[in-house]
Symmetry: C2
Subunit: 450 residues, 2 copies
């Protein structure tokens, strides 16, 4: 019997609760503000968009929130997800580091996004909601919401960012296989969409505005967001809770380094927050690192200010690292990382110095992802490749310094619907497009003064 | 705790041996014949193409063949694969049948093909071979061989059937990500390819001829086949061995029906032969059913005769159900089922009446696959959808008859690189093209008289 590779948990060890980092933070995160009054928003302000259970989760201070049985019952289709020791990649790198990746690509949507789409659709379904609207960038969130709606019998309408819609027809088809409707954003179906030229490349902020506009018009329709908000991050903590158990199974006393890619922040928080809890409690002392693209460097070059979550200024104002709500990032291939801001909870812990951030060029990320695929057999999502690339830097540093860190990577999804991006890389056509100082200053100029 | 869904085996329960059905057959299968002399081929005749261990496995009568540790070590990256109870699909169908699917889509190549690519590359590597050539139809075999070659440091060159190359660039990219070279077949790189027009749609038989021609020219290059031959079927039996254990874990005393799709026959045999052993031993009494497309109905409408394995007539003559070695099937989406013949071992057990066969139209298969995806969250490969469609027929019959059969389906791979086919189906553009009597007669006319 050779060395163990996959650390699997039995279905009986599926987490029973989501973990809420708010309960353990040294300082409370700043509240969201109403876009009109600039006063803290109350639950009522969110009622047009979300069902009561999700609003309660958005504001709760409880440390743990029970996962409803119908949600756990869907999680069982693919969870617990595996934690895998990257021993072939370690050998290829010649590193003394022990590298583990928590692989969320096993989900029906191919990414971590189902962890929150399933509870969101469940709570809407028990409140008599018949249809959900949403945005999608890379397409993983639209896929995840479409899948969950199919399970609970809800209609689903997805506004897909224009460039993504144009270049990735397979993603649109996958969402349609699950039964949802897909529109190119900006569309002619919303007042906000009509203010923009039809061939506009789109952005997550624009697509959010469109989906919110449609949901706000009808009581039986709600809106569903795939990242950023507290309740979304809460649902993703099953990732980190499982990883903690699995790391122990692998015989490790803890992680020295926890690395996740960060776009809106939910994948990152899902892995990192349970580790941060253990760090704050003094049980482990991992360095925790969020990795973002140099084309959309929210945490590393944005400002920590109140800003809108969407381009149209319809959402509450959230205190977060932002590049400006109407910033349109360069069309890099990691569509899921092209968001102008960062989840308030992630922003808060970065601002408090509890976690670190780094930004990488996409060419380095694809180079590492190809090496990783040849060693481990998994083609990573372009988003996840950012975490891999940072892990390689750390693993090579360990080789240099003679240290043996335990590195835990969040491998948020597979890249099988992103092979066009890999083709560009292999053909030498991939370009890096780091954000310029001028573009950054121009985008920040439109952030409202609160 | 809800009902269990996934029946997982620990890494310690990974099979230690492959199973060889030849040891248990009531009658021995007819031998392959030399294409020139028409005499039974000996091991020497195969030495130009295969390493000695694979030739030994091709002709062995041993019941079990030990899996080398370096092969098991790669299997551990994704095996044991899950057996999943399709409870949501059962509910959607309203059937009293208990349906389980053995899911091979978890492999690095997204299909069962790595089960044989890994040992094939391993045995070549320990014999000093530096490069392998092969054909690929749907692309799953090329992906699997590319992956295995990356792991063991061999070069890999793949001839991809023309229509597949033209319509599925993502598949080519995936093979290239793993480091292999891909050519459109027919190519200008071989004498056989040059005899055909450059824009010929290609076929598996043509691509095999090209790959064999290149391998035969150089001692350091060997050829690798993804199906049909005895040693390939042998390697796939890990599927059935695991499924037997998992079915017991699920509390079932045995299967009533085992269903697999069959193109060359290796996926089908891999699942079915261990069940057939149990049936022959009187331990279970499943009906075992191979499902093929009505456009390429080898088992249901072909003749059981000696024929070539390739279009160019370079391979040994094999006794098998065949539509004729130069038959070019209609370009249906299940590229992996577009082979003119069927594995000699599968053909033999069909001819002996030990297993049954059925043929289905692709439109029914896609319709079922979409329903399956919305229930189970898995988008099946078009090949695997044939097994699902037959399973639905059986499950609905059970509902009609009030029986409660245990149905085990071989879900050979995912269809995430075949979403173009799903798009055609959803858009209503999918056409069925069952083989006509005239076309069948014309193709059979070219089968050599032995």
């Amino acid at each position: 019997m050779g060395e163990q590779v996959r650390f699997l948990l039995d279905e009986s060890e599926l987490p029973t609760h989501w973990y809420n980092i708010v309960a353990d933070l040294p300082t409370p995160p700043p509240p969201p503000l109403h876009p009109g009054t600039r006063e803290p928003v109350g639950p009522d302000d969110l009622a047009a968009l979300f069902p009561p259970e999700l609003i309660a989760q958005e504001v709760t201070g409880d440390r743990f929130v029970e996962i409803p049985e119908p949600v756990r019952d869907v999680y069982r289709q693919y969870r617990p997800s595996p934690l895998i020791r990257a021993r072939r990649w370690e050998r290829a790198l010649g590193t003394p580091a022990r590298i583990y990746y928590k692989y969320e690509g096993v989900s029906p949507a191919g990414s971590h996004k189902t962890n929150t789409s399933v509870p969101q659709v469940y709570y809407n379904s028990i409140n008599g909601i018949t249809k959900l609207t949403t945005e999608t960038g890379a397409g993983q969130w639209g896929t995840a919401l479409g899948y969950a709606c199919a399970l609970f019998g809800l209609e689903c309408e997805v506004w897909q960012v224009g460039t993504s819609f144009d270049t990735k027809p397979q993603r649109r088809t996958l969402i349609e296989v699950f039964g949802a409707k897909v529109h190119r954003s900006p569309s002619r179906l919303t007042e906000f969409g009509k203010t923009l030229p039809e061939d506009h490349p789109g952005s997550l902020g624009i697509a959010i505005s469109e989906a919110v506009e449609v949901a706000a018009q009808d009581d039986a329709i709600k809106y569903s967001l795939g990242s950023v908000l507290n309740h979304v991050l809460l649902h993703q903590t099953v990732i980190g809770e499982e990883a903690l158990k699995q790391l122990a199974l692998a015989g490790e006393s803890g992680a020295d380094l926890v690395i996740g890619c960060a776009g809106g922040g939910s994948n990152f928080a899902g892995l990192a927050f349970p580790f941060l809890r253990e760090k704050l409690a003094g049980n482990q002392s991992p360095r925790i690192l969020a990795v973002e693209p140099s084309s959309c460097p929210t945490l590393t070059r944005g400002e920590y200010r109140y800003d809108f979550g969407d381009a149209g200024g319809m959402t509450p104002l959230l205190k977060m690292y932002t590049l400006g709500h109407d910033f349109v990032p360069s069309p890099i291939h990691a569509g899921g990382l092209r968001y102008h801001a960062m989840a308030p909870l992630v922003s808060h812990v970065v601002n408090e110095g509890l976690i670190d951030a780094a930004a990488l060029h996409q060419s380095e990320c694809f180079e590492v992802a190809v090496d990783f695929a040849r060693a481990e057999g998994i083609v990573a999502a372009p988003e996840s490749s950012h975490a891999l690339a940072q892990a390689r830097r750390e693993a090579l540093a360990a080789k240099e310094n003679g240290t043996e860190p335990v590195i835990v990577i969040g491998l948020s999804g597979h890249g099988l619907l992103e092979l066009g991006a890999y083709d560009s890389y292999l053909a030498g056509h991939l370009e890096d497009d780091p954000l310029s100082d001028e573009a950054l200053a121009a985008a920040l100029a439109n952030v409202p003064v609160v």
